[in-house]
């Protein structure tokens, strides 16, 4: 036992301690092996892609809000094959829709949640000096860079970017004759295959680190919830991404060397692609929400100065969501011609997944109950997450019921639902995370004033954009149609579409406040104290903002209690960090009401 522990330590900490001396610029900022720097690289890169995705969304909304009118200001910059004179062509519109989703899902939300917080928080929260494989971690970021470049480049190749939807249903995506896009689709596929490697290396790293490198005393049930959710998310990544990679490779072969996996002309099965895609795609949905849930749990518990309500239930809910997430993929395919009996089993498993989600919401409410709620910017975003996730979760029940899914499938109801989960959920979670851990990342506080303006603009504009989409869906407005006015019954909805578009432009403009605040605070923000949020978790005990290579210069910290001991009677203050040893003489037993689950000790 002792030998093994020594080897493990020697291996893991070796990378950290040996490099304490001054490193060159390139090793510090570009090819750094420091997990905190890699997190920042992911942060900047994915915020850039978030912006690009937002611009694409703006163009989509322009076409829907003002169909057939030239794009103002920048309209003349477009080429003849995309938007001659600023008038968006249908093929370009298809590319816009596809690439908006692709950038947002694969290049913005996923790295923002997993790449940024997985890298930044995991070692700090579990008390590890760095990741288990620091160099693999560097590779994880730098593999994703060419993927992003290829995806961007696909706008400039002949035929334009991929235009078969982010789901790339074959055979539209398998045969250039059907979509008019060949090179763009090939680049889309290659880029996602490469990006898969990046996610995979990240997942291997996170899982190994969390399993093997927790500080003494950091037992499974003393792990902070962001780490827990990232651990579970990593498993989803690890096991879902390769499935997609396999499918992408087959689709790539269909597109390039003429195999016929998904091409009915050669007896291939288009439905097989859908199964493979959604077998990845559904866990992917949870990849995009679970880390945000973890971040939000941390912020809510901290800002309500109260232990998280039902810590064990929260962990179990995360795990059961992940497990159930593997058996529900078919609910994306109710109307696809899938075997109806298979549909029934998928419907039941899907509808059951509402339960752990409900548990999480109730536990957040329970955490707020009798709390001492501080409305700081991270807390506002976290509360918005809860409020919006309720809407997104409830609208999901409509689709889970297969018969009700018939009229609303592939309409704007779905668009509303996914944006309530992905924007209202993930993105508010990300904002909560960035504003909460910004002091740890950059040593300065983000401006609370700008943060609040940004928050209120965002929450109002966001609801003005996406809530009416439910109504569009109920009025049978199909998704991904270029010109709703070509259907007579959709013409009365044009006013609503225009309203949504204007709100969307306000929403996008509102994000510029965040961008400004982010970069301004990075250089000119108020200097942050050691533990500005009076948090319990280990990252705030590490000296330095951010801590240097090796994270915990005083040696690996020891952990004595759970992460959410706020307002504990054991402490005179309203928080009790995980790493503070218990006083030699206890203050007496902690009073507990009967029936309360003990947590964290």
């Amino acid at each position: 036992m002792a030998t093994h522990a020594a080897t493990a330590e020697g291996h893991a900490t070796g990378a950290g301690h040996d490099e304490h001396h001054k490193l060159s610029f390139i090793r510090t900022y570009i090819f750094s092996t420091d997990h905190k720097m890699i997190a920042k690289q992911f942060l900047l890169a994915s915020l850039l892609f978030l912006l690009i995705g937002g611009i694409l969304a703006g163009l989509v909304r322009w076409q829907l809000g003002f169909p057939g009118q030239p794009i103002p200001f920048i309209g003349s910059m477009f080429s003849d094959t995309t938007a001659p004179g600023g008038i968006i062509l249908p093929e370009f519109y298809n590319s816009l829709v596809t690439m908006h989703a692709t950038f947002m899902i694969f290049f913005a939300i996923m790295p923002l949640l997993v790449g940024v917080w997985g890298n930044f928080l995991i070692p700090l929260q579990i008390g590890a000096p760095d990741m288990a494989f620091p160099r693999l971690n560097t590779a994880s970021f730098w593999i994703s860079v060419p993927a992003g470049i290829l995806m961007l480049a696909s706008f400039f190749v002949e035929g334009g970017a991929a235009g078969a939807g982010w789901t790339s249903y074959a055979p539209l995506s398998a045969n250039p004759e059907y979509s008019g896009v060949h090179m763009g689709q090939v680049l889309w596929l290659v880029s996602l295959i490469i990006l898969g490697f990046s996610s995979l290396t990240g997942a291997v790293n996170y899982i190994t680190t969390i399993i093997n490198m927790r500080a003494p005393g950091m037992t499974w049930f003393r792990m902070p919830l962001p780490t827990w959710s990232l651990f579970v998310t990593s498993w989803l990544l690890l096991l879902a991404i390769p499935i997609l990679t396999g499918g992408l490779i087959m689709l790539l072969f269909d597109q390039t060397i003429g195999t016929g996996f998904f091409n009915p002309a050669t007896d291939g099965e288009p439905l097989l692609w859908q199964h493979i895609f959604w077998y990845f795609g559904h866990p992917e949905v949870y990849i995009l929400i679970l880390p945000a849930m973890g971040l939000v749990s941390e912020v809510i518990s901290n800002r309500a100065r109260k232990p998280i309500f039902g810590y064990h239930a929260m962990v179990l809910a995360i795990i059961s969501i992940a497990f159930l997430g593997w058996v529900v993929w078919g609910h994306h395919m109710f109307q696809s011609g899938m075997n109806p009996l298979l549909g029934t089993s998928f419907m039941i498993s899907t509808i059951i997944i509402a339960v752990p989600s409900a548990i999480k919401v109730f536990n957040w409410l329970g955490t707020l109950w009798k709390g001492d709620i501080h409305f700081d910017v991270p807390m506002l975003h976290a509360l918005a997450f809860v409020a919006m996730f309720i809407i997104g979760g409830l609208s999901g029940i409509f689709m889970a019921s297969a018969p009700v899914d018939i009229p609303i499938h592939d309409t704007y109801f779905i668009v509303a639902h996914i944006h309530y989960v992905l924007f209202g959920g993930s993105l508010f979670g990300i904002f909560a995370g960035i504003t909460f851990w910004f002091p740890k990342m950059f040593g300065r506080m983000m401006s609370p004033k700008l943060g609040k303006i940004h928050f209120w603009v965002t929450i109002f504009a966001y609801n003005a954009v996406f809530f009416p989409m439910h109504n569009l869906g109920l009025r049978n407005h199909m998704r991904r149609i270029y010109d709703p006015n070509s259907y007579e019954y959709l013409q009365p909805l044009q006013g609503l579409n225009t309203f949504i578009s204007i709100a969307a432009f306000i929403l996008i403009a509102g994000q510029m406040i965040f961008a400004f605040s982010f970069f301004y605070s990075m250089f000119f923000g108020e200097k942050a104290e050691q533990n500005p949020w009076k948090s319990n978790t280990l990252e705030w005990t590490a000296a330095g903002h951010p801590p240097g290579h090796g994270n915990f210069p005083g040696g690996t910290p020891h952990v004595y209690r759970g992460p959410y001991e706020y307002s504990s009677p054991e402490s005179n203050e309203d928080f009790l960090p995980q790493g503070v040893p218990p006083e030699p003489v206890r203050r007496g037993a902690v009073p507990r009401e009967p029936g309360f689950l003990p947590t964290g000790d």
Binding site: M347, G371, I390, S567
Partner: protein
Amino acid sequence: MENWSWMLDESASSVGPQIDRLYYIILVITGIVFVATEVTLLYFLFKYRHREGHKAEYIHGNTKAEIIWTAIPALIVLAIALMSRGLWAEIKDPANVPADAMRVMLEAKQFEWNLTYPGPDGELRTGDDFTVRNRLDIPLDRPTVLEMTSVDVIHSFFVPDFRLKQDIVPGMAMQMWFQPTRAGVFPIGCAELCGIGHTRMRGTLTVHSPADYQAWVNEQVQGAASAAEPAAPAPATQAQ
């Protein structure tokens, strides 16, 4: 907003009212949950906002509460699932396709719906079949079965007023049946992205009274017959 409503438009097919009923049940349940949770959230935010000298209570959880709020949602969603299950089977189970239905062949291609009707003999795949483009005309008195195929990509046949939607996968023969409940003209759309012309892949579904339907068939058959026999070119062909 004048078009705002949580209500669905009136349905025109036999399964419509059942789907709508399920929709309204879910709408009421989720509506109650929505209001209850959001109001609780806002109430807590107001009640337990930070005040000087106030300290949060040290509560880790409550097993009883956890069990209650696990069990109740579980029972509700299971009830929804069970209700949905029966209706789903009724709509989609191939065994439930009515035997006396009129059968129409639908062939989807980029970007049109081609519908082949049984001619006067009432049988498909016989010499008197006729094909029309983007028009589905059916009689009111009997169910219709669509035998659907696609020749290129996946299309989705969508009739909002009938609560009908079915993807048509190339290489697969798909069936869908429905029974109209009132006469009228209804829009048909394509709900699955199918390429450049996706937005214009539409048609109309006309439900005739039985007599009108017969008249329409006769009109179509005569038109097809006269088109088939060679004749002198009409003067209009010189339009160049």
